[in-house]
Amino acid sequence: MRLEQLNYLFFGVLAAGVIGVTAWSGSPVWYLNLILLCLFGGISYAIRSWHDRAFYLVCAGEPLIVACGAINLWVGVFVVWMVAGIVCNAMCMLEFSGGIKLFVLFCGIAAIVAILIQVSNHVLLPLLILAAGTGAILAVQVIRDHQFIKQFGASP
């Protein structure tokens, strides 16, 4: 499947999901989701030929994730998946099987983050867990980097 067709597929599913959920929820600010969806679609179309469009797609998708997450956390997760699909497609990650596996892995991690948030009553605890996890990963990376440089970068 060509990348452009895959892009349309992701965006089609995203649009259908957002419109459906907005209609089902009966939110008083229903128009906000539609405006943000149109904004995301417009930006995605306008920058389709840009080399570094992944960054702008992420920035355009975040308001839609927040708006849909405010209706229902799992709707937010659904939007995250779709936006991630479009971004991965823009980065040509879905061209090879390794990239598809990474996309699926990210979807799983997003779901775990959502579960963590759902089981918490307040923001503080999951925020601390996320920060601690990030810190731990970065600390491990620093040590690995040091060992790596010692192995290849050290002059004899």
Partner: protein
């Protein structure tokens, strides 16, 4: 971290701060997933970066393993590496400050089109500090959309070989000494001269009297002097006579005749004989090998020193080496890119030149000169010419002399010699271009 990743980090901090202040789960979801995505990208980049580094293989070859300070040396480095898709790599050769890069590329970009990719650096260096120099390795820079990272690869597989740079005598006076029958040359000969042509490390068996004690004390290593050789071969005098129908100055011709006579007399008095070659354009008129009689030599000069008729003409034909140089220059223009019209013109010109080279035949004069030069024992020759009209035969003589490792001195009329510059295609390869007195 590149600007994209920095921007996303800022977005994550803003979202997380807003989530904390407003206690909003949707904002936290956005921040958390974005953080996970960015971390994932970082880990993926790091994994690929390590794969690239482990795939790097460096092979470096030097023209020579030891050179004298100031000598230009050609280096070829072949780097093989595997660059995954969506990544870009740049390799830079790390060179010691002991050397000066003369020409060539020391930085190359590698795109992930061919895996494994092989790229080659070709450059020339001139060592400016003596001692042992090791090629320290390469710097590898890798980047994708979000991250970039560079590492200096200095370990054993990426570094080496060693280059030994021998010192040269800095305070040696310029110019070669000469005695009545011999003169110094920059070559090893059985008879040593007085000048120092090189300094090198001491090897077992070297004459202890040749050790340079000052230099050895300075570097804590024994260095010996290599003296110049002495040679007693007279020069070959080539006299290029003007064409009869070509306008030339009589005064210049007289000056050239007296300069040739003076040089011939000096050669016979110093070395007991002289060889004379009289030409006019691409016509060899007279050759006298090892003439010992000064009177006979002078009578030959009196007989020939006037404008003559030329049977063979070269019509300003270009040298094959010059055309090859032009082809290389045009290829550089095409590779560098630029205006389409300019590239198309260069391409057409290149094709024409290549076709010229393919159909070019070696002139008979070139062969005659090569045979003449090989038949006499000489190590230098003087070419006297008025430099008027077609000069293509002079280029051929210089080239044949260079091939035979003969030092060639060109002597021209004063006004013409002053106009000759280092970019002159005919005379630039000659060892000296001076006016005849």
């Amino acid at each position: 971290m590149r600007r994209c990743a920095q921007g996303l980090s800022l977005v994550i901090i803003v979202l997380a701060s807003c989530a904390y202040i407003l206690d909003d789960m949707a904002l936290l979801l956005a921040a958390g997933t974005l953080l996970a995505a960015l971390l994932g990208q970082y880990l993926l980049f790091d994994y690929r970066f390590r794969c690239i580094v482990t795939s790097v293989a460096v092979q470096r070859s030097l023209e020579r393993s030891q050179v004298r300070k100031g000598t230009t040396l050609r280096v070829a480095t072949t780097v093989t590496l595997t660059v995954p898709p969506t990544m870009h790599a740049q390799i830079t050769e790390r060179l010691s400050p002991q050397v000066f890069i003369q020409d060539g590329d020391t930085t190359l970009s590698v795109e992930p089109y061919l895996n494994p990719s092989t790229c080659q650096f070709r450059y020339r260096i001139t060592p400016v500090v003596h001692g042992k120099m090791r090629f320290s390795g390469i710097t590898l820079s890798v980047q994708n959309t979000f991250f970039s990272h560079a590492i200096d690869l200095l370990a054993d597989p990426f570094s080496g070989p060693d280059l030994l740079i021998q010192p040269v005598g800095l305070f040696e006076p310029y110019g070669k000494r000469s005695t009545t029958e011999s003169r110094e040359v920059e070559k090893l000969k059985v008879v040593s001269g007085f000048g120092i042509r090189a300094l090198r490390e001491y090897y077992a068996g070297d004459d202890l009297r040749r050790i340079d004690w000052k230099l050895s004390a300075k570097h804590n290593k024994l260095y010996v002097r290599e003296y110049t050789g002495m040679i007693s071969l007279p020069p070959l005098l080539i006299i290029d006579l003007p064409w009869r129908t070509e306008p030339c100055s009589d005064a210049d011709l007289d000056r050239m005749a007296s300069a040739v006579a003076g040089q011939a007399e000096h050669a016979i008095r110093s070395y007991q004989y002289v060889s004379l070659l009289i030409i006019s354009g691409a016509n060899i008129l007279f050759f006298s090998s090892e003439e010992k009689d000064l009177q006979r030599c002078m009578s030959v000069l009196r007989e020939w020193m006037h404008p003559v008729e030329r049977v063979v003409h070269q019509y300003h034909s270009r040298d094959r080496a010059d055309i090859r140089e032009d082809v290389r220059h045009l290829e550089t223009i095409i590779m560098q890119g630029g205006e389409p019209g300019c590239i198309a013109f260069s391409g057409t010109l290149r094709k024409q030149y290549i076709s010229m080279i393919m159909h070019m035949q070696t002139p008979a004069f070139t062969g005659q000169i090569a045979r003449t030069l090989s038949s006499v024992a000489i190590d230098e020759c003087y070419l006297f010419s008025l430099g008027c009209g077609d000069e293509s035969h002079i280029r051929q003589i210089i080239r044949q002399a260079k091939i035979a490792k003969i030092v060639i001195h060109i002597r021209l009329p004063g006004a013409l010699a002053a106009l000759v510059d280092s970019a002159d295609r005919i005379y630039r390869t000659a060892d000296t271009v001076e006016a005849f007195a």
